[in-house]
Amino acid sequence: MDIIKEIFSYISGLGSYVMIPIMITLVGLLVRLHPIKAIKSGMTVGIGLISLDLVLGLIWTNVSPVANILIEKFGLKLTTIDTGWGTAAGLAFSTTVGSFIIPFIIIVNVLMLTFKLTNTVNIDIWNYWHYAFTGAVVYLLTKNYLFAFIAAAAHCAISLRIADYTAPMVQKELGIPGISIPQGFAVSTVPIFDLLDRFYNLFIPKKRKKEDNGEEKEVDSSRFKFLSVIAEPIFLGFIIGFLLALSASYTIAKSLTLGMQMAALMFLLPRATKILMEGLLPISEQARAFMQKKYNSNEFYIGLDSAVLLGLPTTVAVGLLLIPVTLVLAMIIPMNTTLPVGDLASTAFFISMATVIHHRSFIKTFISGTIMMAIVLCIASFFAPMLTAFAKSGAAKIPEGALQVTALSAGNPIAFISYQICRLGVLGIILLIAVTVGIVYIYSRMIKKRETKKQNVGVEI
């Protein structure tokens, strides 16, 4: 036993560039990849991680000085830069919890299916990073792997049950039967948007409510032509970098340079992430094939990424409008320390469930989206030290007093609440389990209630 412990502590002492490839190779062997393929997988993930660190270097050498000037000059508290979901996903997968997250979540999913606690088969393996993130921040807090994996499992369990709950609405809006959305961020917004929807309905006269039902006015995104052009990641990066440098009274030439560097950041980060994901591809494909084969039946929902909702016109339009809104929110919210950049390119993700819950209503989705982005900014700022710590565990040299990194997509309410509960130590973990059971129970009851209601209506007709 001691030898195993020693081997583990030796491996983790090697730093994440060596440790993560070894762990991923082990996981690859575990899901029965050919040994050569498993090693290639592990090394590719490691290379992805190194690429990620290299690209993040752009921030620490170029953006940090500008931000420091702004902090001194205007007293702005923007000490953190949002580098987008790719960084968060990459860093979450490259923690110890993250290396084992794919087989672990599959076990949790299979157990829940076996005990009929969910109908969703989550084949959206990439987005397991949300669960890995929750686990990894809890590990950072408690230094206890058991607690970390319990937290990841709790996030997964809540996600699967909420996915079951929203499945009929999602299927109706998209016209695709048999699917659900267990994506770790999207599910965390469901209770919030649900509550907001009930709140809005208090102000809408009953008569209108009936007329609007299902057929709310949609707003075409072609009205926001300008926004849809600058919503391209490289333009966004350029404009923000340029304006940031200008306000720090850089010369035009220097400001243009920073604009280009930020554009490069926006262009390169997804590519670095892609390398990492390529490494995970053989493992995730194996996992997907296993789940598909085992649960190939109509009674199960296929769990997909919330990206399938991004084509809905309301989502596109509100997503674009949220770009300037998020920037303004970042300036005025006192708790926020994050300069939004990376995930501005994916604002639509944050409201994907709002469009569904608000039946495509533009105005409701817009208000909910604004509230959600405010919450996300605060939580993303809170998690900045943790994400920066994950980045530091690599060999990346982060200079003292440099900017911290975070991602808006790491501003996950479930991760935040889990982290706060786990502050209580052992008691916290017990509480977390109790809360999770409670949430799963409440949603199960809501699903049951809906089903009996449907049957009763059927009898009446």
């Binding site: 979901w85 790719g86 084949i123 990439w126 998209l174 016209g175 695709i176 048999g178 699917i179 995104s221 072609s222 849809s228 919503a231 391209e232 990641p233 997804p270 992430t273 892609k274 994901m277 390529e278 591809l281 494909e285 598909q292 190939n296 296929i302 997909l304 990424d305 919330s306 990206a307 399938v308 909702l309 991004l310 084509g311 809905l312 016109p313 390119a345 994916s346 639509a348 993700f349």
Partner: protein
């Protein structure tokens, strides 16, 4: 030479799986092609170069070229129909 634009939410993960499936299909049918893999927000800037768009999400119109839902490559349901649909636009 046919150009296929493959798009998903971020142009990173799901579109990689769809791309490799499209690639395999067109190689089998000996159709010369190139694939542009991108995020949904980048599709507009590529559509002039492409023949069809294969996306992971249903797209509600507004594009100059045909759009096809590539989700069956992910779910494994309706793959044959999807393949013949893609080929019908390219042959």
């Amino acid at each position: 030479m046919k150009t296929i634009i493959v798009a998903c939410g971020a142009g990173v993960a799901t579109s990689t799986i769809i791309s490799s499936n499209v690639d395999k299909l067109l190689d089998e049918k000996k159709i010369k092609h190139r694939i542009i893999q991108c995020s949904i927000r980048e599709v507009k800037s590529y559509e002039d170069e492409g023949d069809i768009i294969v996306s992971s999400m249903p797209l509600n119109g507004g594009y100059k070229i045909p759009t096809i839902l590539g989700l069956p490559f992910i779910t494994g349901i309706g793959v044959d129909e999807l393949k013949s649909k893609i080929l019908s636009y390219l042959v």
